[in-house]
Amino acid sequence: MNSREACPPRDDLDARIRQSLRAAYGNKCPARGVRRQLMDRAAEQRRDLRKLALPLPDWLSHSRTARPMESGWNHLDYISLLSALGFVGVTYAIR
Protein backbone atom coordinates (compact mmCIF):
# COMPACT_ATOMS: atom_id res chain seq x y z
CA MET A 1 0.00 0.00 0.00
CA ASN A 2 1.33 3.39 -0.89
CA SER A 3 -0.05 6.04 1.40
CA ARG A 4 1.97 8.85 -0.11
CA GLU A 5 -1.09 10.06 -2.03
CA ALA A 6 -2.94 10.44 1.26
CA CYS A 7 -0.65 13.27 2.29
CA PRO A 8 -0.03 15.43 -0.79
CA PRO A 9 2.41 18.33 -0.72
CA ARG A 10 0.64 21.64 -0.31
CA ASP A 11 3.45 24.02 -1.16
CA ASP A 12 7.13 24.08 -1.94
CA LEU A 13 8.06 23.26 1.65
CA ASP A 14 7.98 19.53 0.82
CA ALA A 15 10.34 20.07 -2.08
CA ARG A 16 12.65 22.18 0.09
CA ILE A 17 12.77 19.57 2.85
CA ARG A 18 13.38 16.72 0.42
CA GLN A 19 16.04 18.65 -1.48
CA SER A 20 17.87 19.76 1.66
CA LEU A 21 17.90 16.30 3.22
CA ARG A 22 19.10 14.65 0.05
CA ALA A 23 21.75 17.29 -0.54
CA ALA A 24 22.97 16.91 3.04
CA TYR A 25 22.91 13.11 3.38
CA GLY A 26 22.15 11.58 -0.01
CA ASN A 27 25.81 11.15 -0.93
CA LYS A 28 27.27 10.37 2.48
CA CYS A 29 29.02 7.03 2.98
CA PRO A 30 30.51 5.33 6.02
CA ALA A 31 34.29 5.02 6.20
CA ARG A 32 35.80 1.99 4.50
CA GLY A 33 37.21 0.66 7.72
CA VAL A 34 33.74 0.22 9.19
CA ARG A 35 33.11 -3.00 7.26
CA ARG A 36 36.32 -4.66 8.42
CA GLN A 37 35.67 -3.53 11.99
CA LEU A 38 32.15 -4.91 11.79
CA MET A 39 33.33 -8.28 10.49
CA ASP A 40 35.93 -8.51 13.27
CA ARG A 41 33.35 -7.68 15.90
CA ALA A 42 30.86 -10.10 14.32
CA ALA A 43 33.43 -12.93 14.47
CA GLU A 44 34.15 -12.06 18.08
CA GLN A 45 30.43 -11.95 18.87
CA ARG A 46 30.00 -15.36 17.27
CA ARG A 47 32.73 -16.81 19.47
CA ASP A 48 31.11 -15.29 22.55
CA LEU A 49 27.71 -16.68 21.59
CA ARG A 50 29.20 -20.13 21.12
CA LYS A 51 30.83 -19.95 24.53
CA LEU A 52 27.46 -19.13 26.06
CA ALA A 53 25.84 -22.05 24.29
CA LEU A 54 28.08 -24.76 25.80
CA PRO A 55 27.02 -28.26 24.82
CA LEU A 56 25.22 -30.21 27.54
CA PRO A 57 26.93 -33.28 28.95
CA ASP A 58 25.67 -36.48 27.42
CA TRP A 59 23.86 -37.60 30.53
CA LEU A 60 21.94 -34.24 30.69
CA SER A 61 20.94 -34.34 27.07
CA HIS A 62 18.80 -37.43 27.71
CA SER A 63 15.37 -37.17 29.22
CA ARG A 64 15.22 -37.65 32.96
CA THR A 65 13.85 -41.15 32.87
CA ALA A 66 16.10 -42.29 30.04
CA ARG A 67 19.39 -41.16 31.53
CA PRO A 68 22.04 -43.84 31.66
CA MET A 69 22.53 -45.26 35.10
CA GLU A 70 26.23 -44.68 35.44
CA SER A 71 26.32 -45.40 39.16
CA GLY A 72 23.61 -48.02 39.12
CA TRP A 73 21.26 -45.64 40.97
CA ASN A 74 18.32 -43.90 39.38
CA HIS A 75 16.52 -40.78 40.60
CA LEU A 76 13.97 -42.85 42.51
CA ASP A 77 16.78 -44.36 44.56
CA TYR A 78 18.01 -40.87 45.46
CA ILE A 79 14.49 -39.76 46.40
CA SER A 80 14.07 -42.84 48.59
CA LEU A 81 17.38 -42.16 50.31
CA LEU A 82 16.49 -38.53 50.96
CA SER A 83 13.06 -39.54 52.29
CA ALA A 84 14.64 -42.02 54.63
CA LEU A 85 17.15 -39.50 55.89
CA GLY A 86 14.36 -36.98 56.38
CA PHE A 87 12.33 -39.51 58.34
CA VAL A 88 15.28 -40.26 60.59
CA GLY A 89 15.94 -36.56 61.08
CA VAL A 90 12.35 -35.76 62.01
CA THR A 91 12.18 -38.74 64.39
CA TYR A 92 15.39 -37.66 66.09
CA ALA A 93 14.13 -34.09 66.45
CA ILE A 94 10.88 -35.25 68.07
CA ARG A 95 12.69 -37.42 70.60
Binding site: M1, S3, C7, I17, R22, A24, V34, R46
Partner: protein, 190 residues
Protein backbone atom coordinates in the same frame (compact mmCIF):
# COMPACT_ATOMS: atom_id res chain seq x y z
CA UNK B 1 9.93 -14.82 -0.27
CA UNK B 2 11.99 -11.63 -0.58
CA UNK B 3 15.29 -10.96 -2.30
CA UNK B 4 16.95 -11.05 1.12
CA UNK B 5 15.72 -14.55 1.94
CA UNK B 6 18.79 -16.54 0.78
CA UNK B 7 21.21 -14.26 2.60
CA UNK B 8 19.16 -14.22 5.80
CA UNK B 9 18.95 -18.01 5.74
CA UNK B 10 22.71 -18.25 5.26
CA UNK B 11 23.20 -15.84 8.15
CA UNK B 12 20.88 -17.94 10.30
CA UNK B 13 23.04 -20.93 9.43
CA UNK B 14 26.08 -19.04 10.74
CA UNK B 15 27.57 -17.70 7.51
CA UNK B 16 29.55 -14.54 8.26
CA UNK B 17 29.94 -13.75 4.57
CA UNK B 18 26.17 -13.39 4.38
CA UNK B 19 26.38 -10.69 7.03
CA UNK B 20 28.99 -8.92 4.91
CA UNK B 21 26.78 -9.16 1.84
CA UNK B 22 23.78 -7.75 3.71
CA UNK B 23 26.01 -4.98 5.03
CA UNK B 24 27.09 -4.10 1.50
CA UNK B 25 23.48 -4.01 0.42
CA UNK B 26 22.04 -1.89 3.24
CA UNK B 27 24.96 0.08 4.66
CA UNK B 28 24.06 3.34 2.89
CA UNK B 29 20.42 3.17 3.91
CA UNK B 30 21.25 2.55 7.55
CA UNK B 31 24.15 5.00 7.69
CA UNK B 32 22.33 7.89 6.02
CA UNK B 33 19.26 7.42 8.19
CA UNK B 34 21.33 7.35 11.37
CA UNK B 35 23.34 10.35 10.19
CA UNK B 36 20.24 12.38 9.35
CA UNK B 37 18.72 11.65 12.76
CA UNK B 38 21.84 12.08 14.90
CA UNK B 39 23.83 14.55 12.72
CA UNK B 40 26.98 12.87 14.02
CA UNK B 41 29.13 10.85 11.57
CA UNK B 42 30.88 8.84 14.30
CA UNK B 43 27.59 8.02 15.98
CA UNK B 44 26.13 7.02 12.63
CA UNK B 45 29.03 4.61 12.04
CA UNK B 46 28.62 3.13 15.50
CA UNK B 47 24.90 2.72 14.92
CA UNK B 48 25.61 1.11 11.55
CA UNK B 49 27.87 -1.48 13.16
CA UNK B 50 25.54 -2.10 16.07
CA UNK B 51 22.57 -2.60 13.77
CA UNK B 52 24.37 -5.38 11.89
CA UNK B 53 25.73 -6.93 15.07
CA UNK B 54 22.16 -7.09 16.34
CA UNK B 55 21.15 -8.64 13.06
CA UNK B 56 23.70 -11.40 13.63
CA UNK B 57 22.79 -11.87 17.29
CA UNK B 58 19.05 -12.05 16.56
CA UNK B 59 19.18 -13.63 13.12
CA UNK B 60 17.06 -16.56 14.30
CA UNK B 61 14.23 -14.15 15.19
CA UNK B 62 14.23 -12.43 11.79
CA UNK B 63 11.58 -13.67 9.37
CA UNK B 64 13.58 -14.66 6.32
CA UNK B 65 10.50 -14.49 4.12
CA UNK B 66 10.10 -10.74 4.65
CA UNK B 67 12.30 -7.91 3.34
CA UNK B 68 15.04 -6.94 5.76
CA UNK B 69 14.85 -3.16 5.26
CA UNK B 70 11.97 -2.47 7.71
CA UNK B 71 13.71 -4.50 10.43
CA UNK B 72 16.94 -2.56 9.87
CA UNK B 73 15.12 0.77 9.84
CA UNK B 74 13.47 -0.05 13.16
CA UNK B 75 16.77 -1.02 14.78
CA UNK B 76 18.42 2.09 13.36
CA UNK B 77 15.70 4.34 14.76
CA UNK B 78 15.89 2.66 18.17
CA UNK B 79 19.68 2.90 18.31
CA UNK B 80 19.55 6.55 17.22
CA UNK B 81 17.02 7.29 19.94
CA UNK B 82 19.25 5.63 22.53
CA UNK B 83 22.27 7.57 21.33
CA UNK B 84 20.43 10.91 21.40
CA UNK B 85 19.06 10.22 24.85
CA UNK B 86 22.51 9.43 26.22
CA UNK B 87 24.07 12.44 24.51
CA UNK B 88 21.39 14.81 25.75
CA UNK B 89 21.85 13.55 29.29
CA UNK B 90 25.39 14.97 29.18
CA UNK B 91 24.87 17.81 26.78
CA UNK B 92 21.96 19.63 28.40
CA UNK B 93 23.72 20.54 31.65
CA UNK B 94 26.80 21.56 29.67
CA UNK B 95 24.57 23.66 27.41
CA UNK B 96 23.11 25.40 30.45
CA UNK B 97 26.62 26.06 31.71
CA UNK B 98 27.68 27.58 28.39
CA UNK B 99 24.50 29.69 28.34
CA UNK B 100 25.48 31.09 31.70
CA UNK B 101 28.96 31.88 30.49
CA UNK B 102 28.19 33.51 27.18
CA UNK B 103 24.75 34.87 28.00
CA UNK B 104 23.35 37.17 25.32
CA UNK B 105 26.37 36.65 23.11
CA UNK B 106 24.85 33.38 22.01
CA UNK B 107 22.22 35.36 20.17
CA UNK B 108 24.67 37.49 18.25
CA UNK B 109 23.93 37.71 14.54
CA UNK B 110 25.69 35.14 12.41
CA UNK B 111 26.98 36.03 9.00
CA UNK B 112 24.09 36.80 6.70
CA UNK B 113 25.45 34.48 4.04
CA UNK B 114 25.34 31.60 6.49
CA UNK B 115 21.82 32.39 7.53
CA UNK B 116 20.75 32.37 3.92
CA UNK B 117 22.12 28.93 3.42
CA UNK B 118 18.99 26.92 2.84
CA UNK B 119 20.56 23.59 3.74
CA UNK B 120 21.96 24.85 6.99
CA UNK B 121 18.69 26.47 7.96
CA UNK B 122 16.77 23.34 7.17
CA UNK B 123 19.14 21.14 9.13
CA UNK B 124 18.94 23.42 12.12
CA UNK B 125 15.17 23.41 11.92
CA UNK B 126 15.04 19.61 11.65
CA UNK B 127 17.37 19.37 14.65
CA UNK B 128 14.92 21.43 16.66
CA UNK B 129 12.07 18.98 16.03
CA UNK B 130 11.01 16.42 18.58
CA UNK B 131 12.56 13.01 17.95
CA UNK B 132 9.28 11.43 16.85
CA UNK B 133 8.69 14.13 14.24
CA UNK B 134 12.30 14.18 13.10
CA UNK B 135 12.32 10.45 12.45
CA UNK B 136 9.13 10.61 10.39
CA UNK B 137 10.48 13.58 8.39
CA UNK B 138 13.73 11.71 7.66
CA UNK B 139 12.06 8.45 6.71
CA UNK B 140 9.49 10.20 4.53
CA UNK B 141 11.62 12.78 2.74
CA UNK B 142 15.09 11.24 2.74
CA UNK B 143 14.26 7.55 2.43
CA UNK B 144 11.14 8.14 0.38
CA UNK B 145 9.09 5.64 2.40
CA UNK B 146 5.31 5.63 2.33
CA UNK B 147 3.23 6.44 5.40
CA UNK B 148 2.25 2.78 5.69
CA UNK B 149 5.88 1.67 5.57
CA UNK B 150 6.83 4.20 8.24
CA UNK B 151 3.92 3.05 10.39
CA UNK B 152 5.11 -0.55 10.08
CA UNK B 153 8.66 0.41 11.02
CA UNK B 154 7.64 2.50 14.03
CA UNK B 155 4.90 0.08 15.07
CA UNK B 156 2.20 2.75 15.22
CA UNK B 157 -0.98 3.52 13.26
CA UNK B 158 -0.78 5.33 9.93
CA UNK B 159 -2.83 8.15 11.47
CA UNK B 160 -0.09 8.75 14.01
CA UNK B 161 2.52 8.95 11.27
CA UNK B 162 0.33 11.40 9.33
CA UNK B 163 -0.09 13.52 12.43
CA UNK B 164 3.64 13.56 13.20
CA UNK B 165 4.41 14.44 9.60
CA UNK B 166 1.86 17.23 9.61
CA UNK B 167 3.06 18.79 12.86
CA UNK B 168 6.69 18.24 11.92
CA UNK B 169 6.11 20.08 8.67
CA UNK B 170 4.25 22.91 10.39
CA UNK B 171 6.99 23.24 12.99
CA UNK B 172 9.58 23.37 10.24
CA UNK B 173 7.61 26.08 8.51
CA UNK B 174 7.50 28.15 11.69
CA UNK B 175 11.17 27.60 12.44
CA UNK B 176 12.22 28.47 8.90
CA UNK B 177 10.05 31.60 8.85
CA UNK B 178 11.49 32.62 12.19
CA UNK B 179 15.02 32.20 10.92
CA UNK B 180 14.24 34.01 7.70
CA UNK B 181 12.98 37.03 9.67
CA UNK B 182 15.89 36.98 12.10
CA UNK B 183 18.38 39.06 10.06
CA UNK B 184 15.89 41.95 9.78
CA UNK B 185 15.48 41.97 13.54
CA UNK B 186 19.25 41.87 13.97
CA UNK B 187 19.77 44.93 11.80
CA UNK B 188 17.55 46.99 14.12
CA UNK B 189 20.10 46.52 16.88
CA UNK B 190 23.28 47.06 14.89
Amino acid sequence: MSQDTPLIQKLQAGDLEALGALYDQYRLTVYRTALAVTRDPEAAEDILQDAFLRLQAHADQVNSELPLAPWLYRVTVNLSYTWLTRRNRWRVPLGDFIDQLIGPAKHNPEPVAERRDEQRLMQRAIDALAFSQRVVIVLYYLNNLSLQEIADILGCPVGTVKSRLHYGRENLRELLNGDAQAPEVQYEFT
